[in-house]
């Protein structure tokens, strides 16, 4: 009997404590964890232990700059936490390599806690020494860290400062000597070797850049030279990135690249293409101009900066990931292909108004192919001088008409009155010529757009679509006769056609006026 009562008492205590615990749990959850509102670029998540398997405890949120500043006050520098290897500072905390789980863990625990402990004893402001202080599930700081890039402007500033001594940064790995060597004229991008993650003896891009950049900058500081940033925010804070000095115009990077190129399949004898069925006209390509349009070479080239046809054959080859030459040049959803990039330009505000309505159809016969494929096939002339080819390409490029073509002003109707919709609303006075002039004006400085719209009437097709180019296109109502035409289900009626076209275009081009129905047409009973 006594035993039972004892049991009962315990049950009561356990039940009450469970309910109380749950209650406080709910209360605790209802409190929103405090997040420091100021985003910072130096928030580092220390989760290195993930390399040894699943994390047992929450990763640590580490504020790098808070530590640099604290150390600076005590006249300590990077060496307080970072070791040096080959006379260069190594980014990992107090170690060169992640050897094993226990060792790395000890390095962190000893390194962090001992320093915090010492400062605690000295009654100085310092970080936590207990587990939860560092290992917290809650995110306390919003990170603003953004990857940084080495654009052409930065590259020029660096090469200028290094007196054009490319070897100071560029190197290659020599398999035989197992050493880093420099080969003149074969400079490539860092990412050719340095990938996202460290693999074998190739450092990751992150590791390599932190070693190389920061070390050099630090040395310059010690020599009291002007140099780049050494702190996290110096490179990774978006607002600081904005302030990095830009050179304009940027002098051309010289790596013996051609001014103009004739894009074609690999010549015979290189073993790339075995078949000899290329009937397509070659494409004259202004390489120099395209260098200016893009920030890095990688935008078009892959990391290796090879010629396109070295890897992309007509049939596709392993080096080119089995992407054939045609796809490499025309793939629409790629940022590297010609057509992909050109089509992306159609999303520009000045272009989107018309182009957003143009469906992507595979058109078999279209003169637009010939806009690029304009050079004659020169395969037969084996002995042709490469310089002749260059001259030909240059002349072809120079003879291109890059001005949008329009009809004479008086051939363009000034005003079109749209009466078809005057049921509830008045007719619309559509300022036709004003719109045409605005569209032409928008692209007159755009070489790409100018070249593709140089034919008279091609700009008219933005609205007068689906009918042959003509100075007298058919009326809209000729096709858009009735809504919900079962035979042409995707063709809107006249009401939808006008509203979709006008409003869609205005929206895409960011034209805010007219706002609301009555700015185009007055309501009938409102007069």
């Amino acid at each position: 009997m006594k035993k039972e009562r004892y049991l009962f008492r315990w049950a009561g205590i356990v039940a009450i404590s469970i309910i109380a615990l749950l209650g406080t749990g709910i209360y605790g959850l209802s409190k929103v964890s405090k997040v420091s509102s100021q985003p910072r670029a130096d928030v580092i998540k220390i989760d290195n232990m993930i390399a040894f398997g699943k994390l047992e405890i929450a990763p640590v949120e580490f504020l790098h700059e808070a530590h640099t500043e604290a150390l600076a006050k005590k006249n300590k520098d990077c060496a307080a936490c970072h070791l040096t290897q080959n006379k260069r500072l190594f980014p990992k905390f107090k170690r060169i390599a992640d050897t094993d789980r226990i060792k790395v863990m000890d390095i962190y625990h000893k390194g962090c806690i001992s320093c915090h402990g010492e400062m605690n004893v000295a009654k100085e402001k310092t970080g936590p020494v207990e587990c939860e202080g560092c290992h917290s599930e809650k995110i306390q700081h919003v990170t603003s860290r953004q990857p940084t890039g080495f654009d052409k402007s930065l590259h020029f500033r660096h090469s200028e400062a290094q007196e054009n001594k490319c070897e100071r940064c560029h190197h290659e790995y020599d398999e035989k000597t197992k050493k880093l060597v420099y080969v003149k004229g074969k400079e490539g991008t860092c990412r050719y070797c340095h990938k996202e993650k460290t693999k074998d003896n190739r450092m990751s891009m992150g590791l390599a850049s932190h070693i190389a950049c920061i070390d050099c900058h630090r040395k310059n500081i010690s020599k009291r030279l002007t140099t780049g940033p050494v702190t996290c925010s110096g490179c990774h804070d978006p607002s600081v990135q904005q302030k990095i000095k830009k050179i304009t115009p940027i002098p051309r990077m010289d790596r013996k690249q051609p001014d103009v190129v004739l894009l074609k399949k690999a010549p015979k004898g290189t073993g790339v293409d075995t078949e000899n069925t290329n009937k397509m006209a070659f494409v004259p390509f202004d390489h120099k101009a395209h260098e200016n349009y893009n920030d890095t070479c990688r935008v078009c080239h892959h990391e290796s900066l090879k010629q396109c046809n070295e890897c992309h054959s007509l049939a596709g080859m392993n080096e080119g990931n089995r992407v054939n030459l045609e796809t490499a040049m025309h793939q629409v959803d790629s940022t590297r292909s010609c057509q992909g990039c050109h089509e992306a330009k159609q999303k520009d505000k000045n272009c989107a108004g018309c182009h957003v309505f143009m469906g992507k159809e595979r058109v078999k016969e279209d003169t637009s192919c010939l806009k690029c494929h304009s050079a004659p096939v020169m395969e037969k002339k084996k002995s042709s001088n490469p310089d002749d080819e260059k001259t030909l390409v240059k002349t072809m490029l120079q003879s291109r008409n890059l001005v949008p073509g329009t009809y004479p002003e008086n051939n363009i109707p000034e005003k079109v009155v749209i009466k078809k919709l005057s049921k509830e609303y008045d007719a619309v006075d559509f300022p036709h010529r004003k719109v045409v002039n605005a569209l032409v004006g928008n692209i007159k400085d755009n070489k790409l757009a100018g070249y593709f719209h140089s034919q008279k009437g091609s700009i008219c097709k933005g609205c007068h679509h689906n009918s042959p180019v003509s100075a007298n296109p058919p009326h809209c109502g000729n096709c858009h006769g009735k809504p919900f035409d079962g035979k042409n289900p995707s063709r809107p009626g006249i009401l939808g056609a006008y509203h979709q076209q006008c409003m869609g275009c205005h929206k895409e081009m960011g034209i805010e006026k007219p706002a609301g129905c009555t700015e185009c047409h007055k309501k009938k009973n409102e007069r």
Binding site: M1, R5, L7, F8, A11, A15, L22, I26, L29, S30
Partner: protein, 388 residues
């Protein structure tokens, strides 16, 4: 409540009559408002929350708590537990009153109550769980009436008719269990059609089973709880057999309730496993779910067990009350608290005071009717003329 005064018929003005009278007057006023101005005037029901307290409490809780009738009659007449015989009539009476009031409450909630027979006489929406519930409740109400009818017949002295009614006991009990199994589970199954609205911890394809099993628990606990109250207030109405058997009933039903609660806990856990909702237990809704599961299922199961082992009738009675509260919480969770959980708080439902007042009004009617009947008819005692 001073009952002696009321039973003596000396004065009508007793605290019980005063309180219940006030509630009933308020209830009548609200009823007039409801049936003349419409649901919008007295409820907080909205297009997002079409079912409120009147369904969540009056229907779901009401039906669950009236389960004592079928549980007790099945135990006595089918499972042969004759020692619980004295518990049958009070349980059947509560069941009958409970179901009558559920139907009464429904007339408040549905838009056109006079059309309540439409599902049977006009068009049969046979794919609706509600059709099944409606059919079973209607039939079961008749069954309960027939099961209870010997009591008023004895009171009124209609011997022959009473004989006929008593003969029907066995088939009625079987029919009662069948109908109860069906509609108790179907009340849970009502929510099967809305997996996108009910919180996943409460939504399960086992919902009908959960509702059926918990209705047995509710029935058992209600019988214990009610007998505790009756002993307090109507002890003078009870015969020797009733008083003698009462402790046995409490212990026996407590034992059954403890066992079934344990089983219920198990299948609820399996429900979570089946839906793989473990991760939701850490959320605020999950904690509330744990409160229900641990505080109102696991704990009463254990307390019942302790009470039965110790023959501690007081503990069992308190546990019964706690379990009944747990059933109320469970039904309200499914119908109101965890329902529409995805909606922003501004679109959630909280009952209007008049809805609460109406529910209180209906419960009060139940208590008054129960009191009226047990003070007159042979419920707590065997009629001297009809002793077997």
């Amino acid at each position: 409540m001073s009952d002696k005064a009321a039973i003596d018929h000396k004065t009508w003005f007793t605290p019980f009559n005063a309180i219940s009278g006030t509630i009933i007057i308020i209830g009548i006023v609200i009823s007039i408002l409801r049936f003349t101005v419409g649901l919008g005037a007295v409820t907080h029901l909205s297009d997002d929350n079409p079912w409120g307290l009147w369904i969540g409490f009056d229907l779901l809780v009401g039906v669950a708590l009236a389960a004592g009738g079928y549980v007790t009659s099945a135990a006595v007449y089918l499972f042969g537990m004759k020692k619980f015989h004295s518990a049958v009539r009070p349980a059947v009476l509560t069941g009958f009153l409970g179901y009558s009031l559920v139907v009464f409450a429904l007339t408040y909630d549905v838009g056109r109550p006079w059309r309540l027979p439409y599902p049977f006489i006009m068009q049969q929406g046979t794919t609706s769980l509600l059709f099944e519930v409606a059919g079973c409740v209607a039939l079961y109400l008749t069954v309960l009436f027939l099961e209870f009818v010997p009591a008023p017949l004895e009171w009124l002295g209609f011997k022959k008719v009473r004989e006929l009614a008593v003969k029907l006991t066995l088939p009625l009990t079987v029919l009662g269990v069948v109908l109860s199994t069906l509609h108790q589970s179907s009340l849970g199954a009502l929510y099967l059609i809305a997996p996108s609205k009910l919180h996943p911890l409460w939504y399960s394809t086992y919902l009908p089973v959960f509702f059926f099993v918990s209705s047995i628990i509710a029935g058992l606990s209600m019988v214990i709880y009610e007998s505790a109250l009756s002993h307090h207030y109507f002890a003078d109405k009870m015969d020797a057999a009733h008083l003698q058997e009462s402790e046995g009933v409490t212990l026996g039903f407590g034992k059954a309730a403890s066992l079934i609660l344990a089983g219920y806990f198990t299948i609820k856990v399996m429900g979570i496993a089946g839906g793989d909702h473990w991760h939701l237990l850490g959320t605020p809704y999950g904690l509330w779910f744990l409160v229900e599961m641990i505080g109102f299922v696991a704990l009463p199961s254990f307390l019942y067990a302790v009470g039965v082992r110790n023959k501690d009738v007081t503990l069992i009675k308190w546990t019964a009350a706690w379990t009944v509260l747990g059933i109320v919480i469970n039904r309200l969770n499914v119908s109101l608290i965890a329902f529409n959980w995805h909606l922003p708080s501004a679109r959630r439902y909280f009952p209007h005071w008049m809805e609460i007042a109406t529910s209180v009004f209906i419960v009060t009617i139940g208590i008054v009717l129960f009191r009226f009947i047990v003070t007159r008819m042979p419920v707590f005692y065997e009629h001297p003329e009809y002793k077997d």
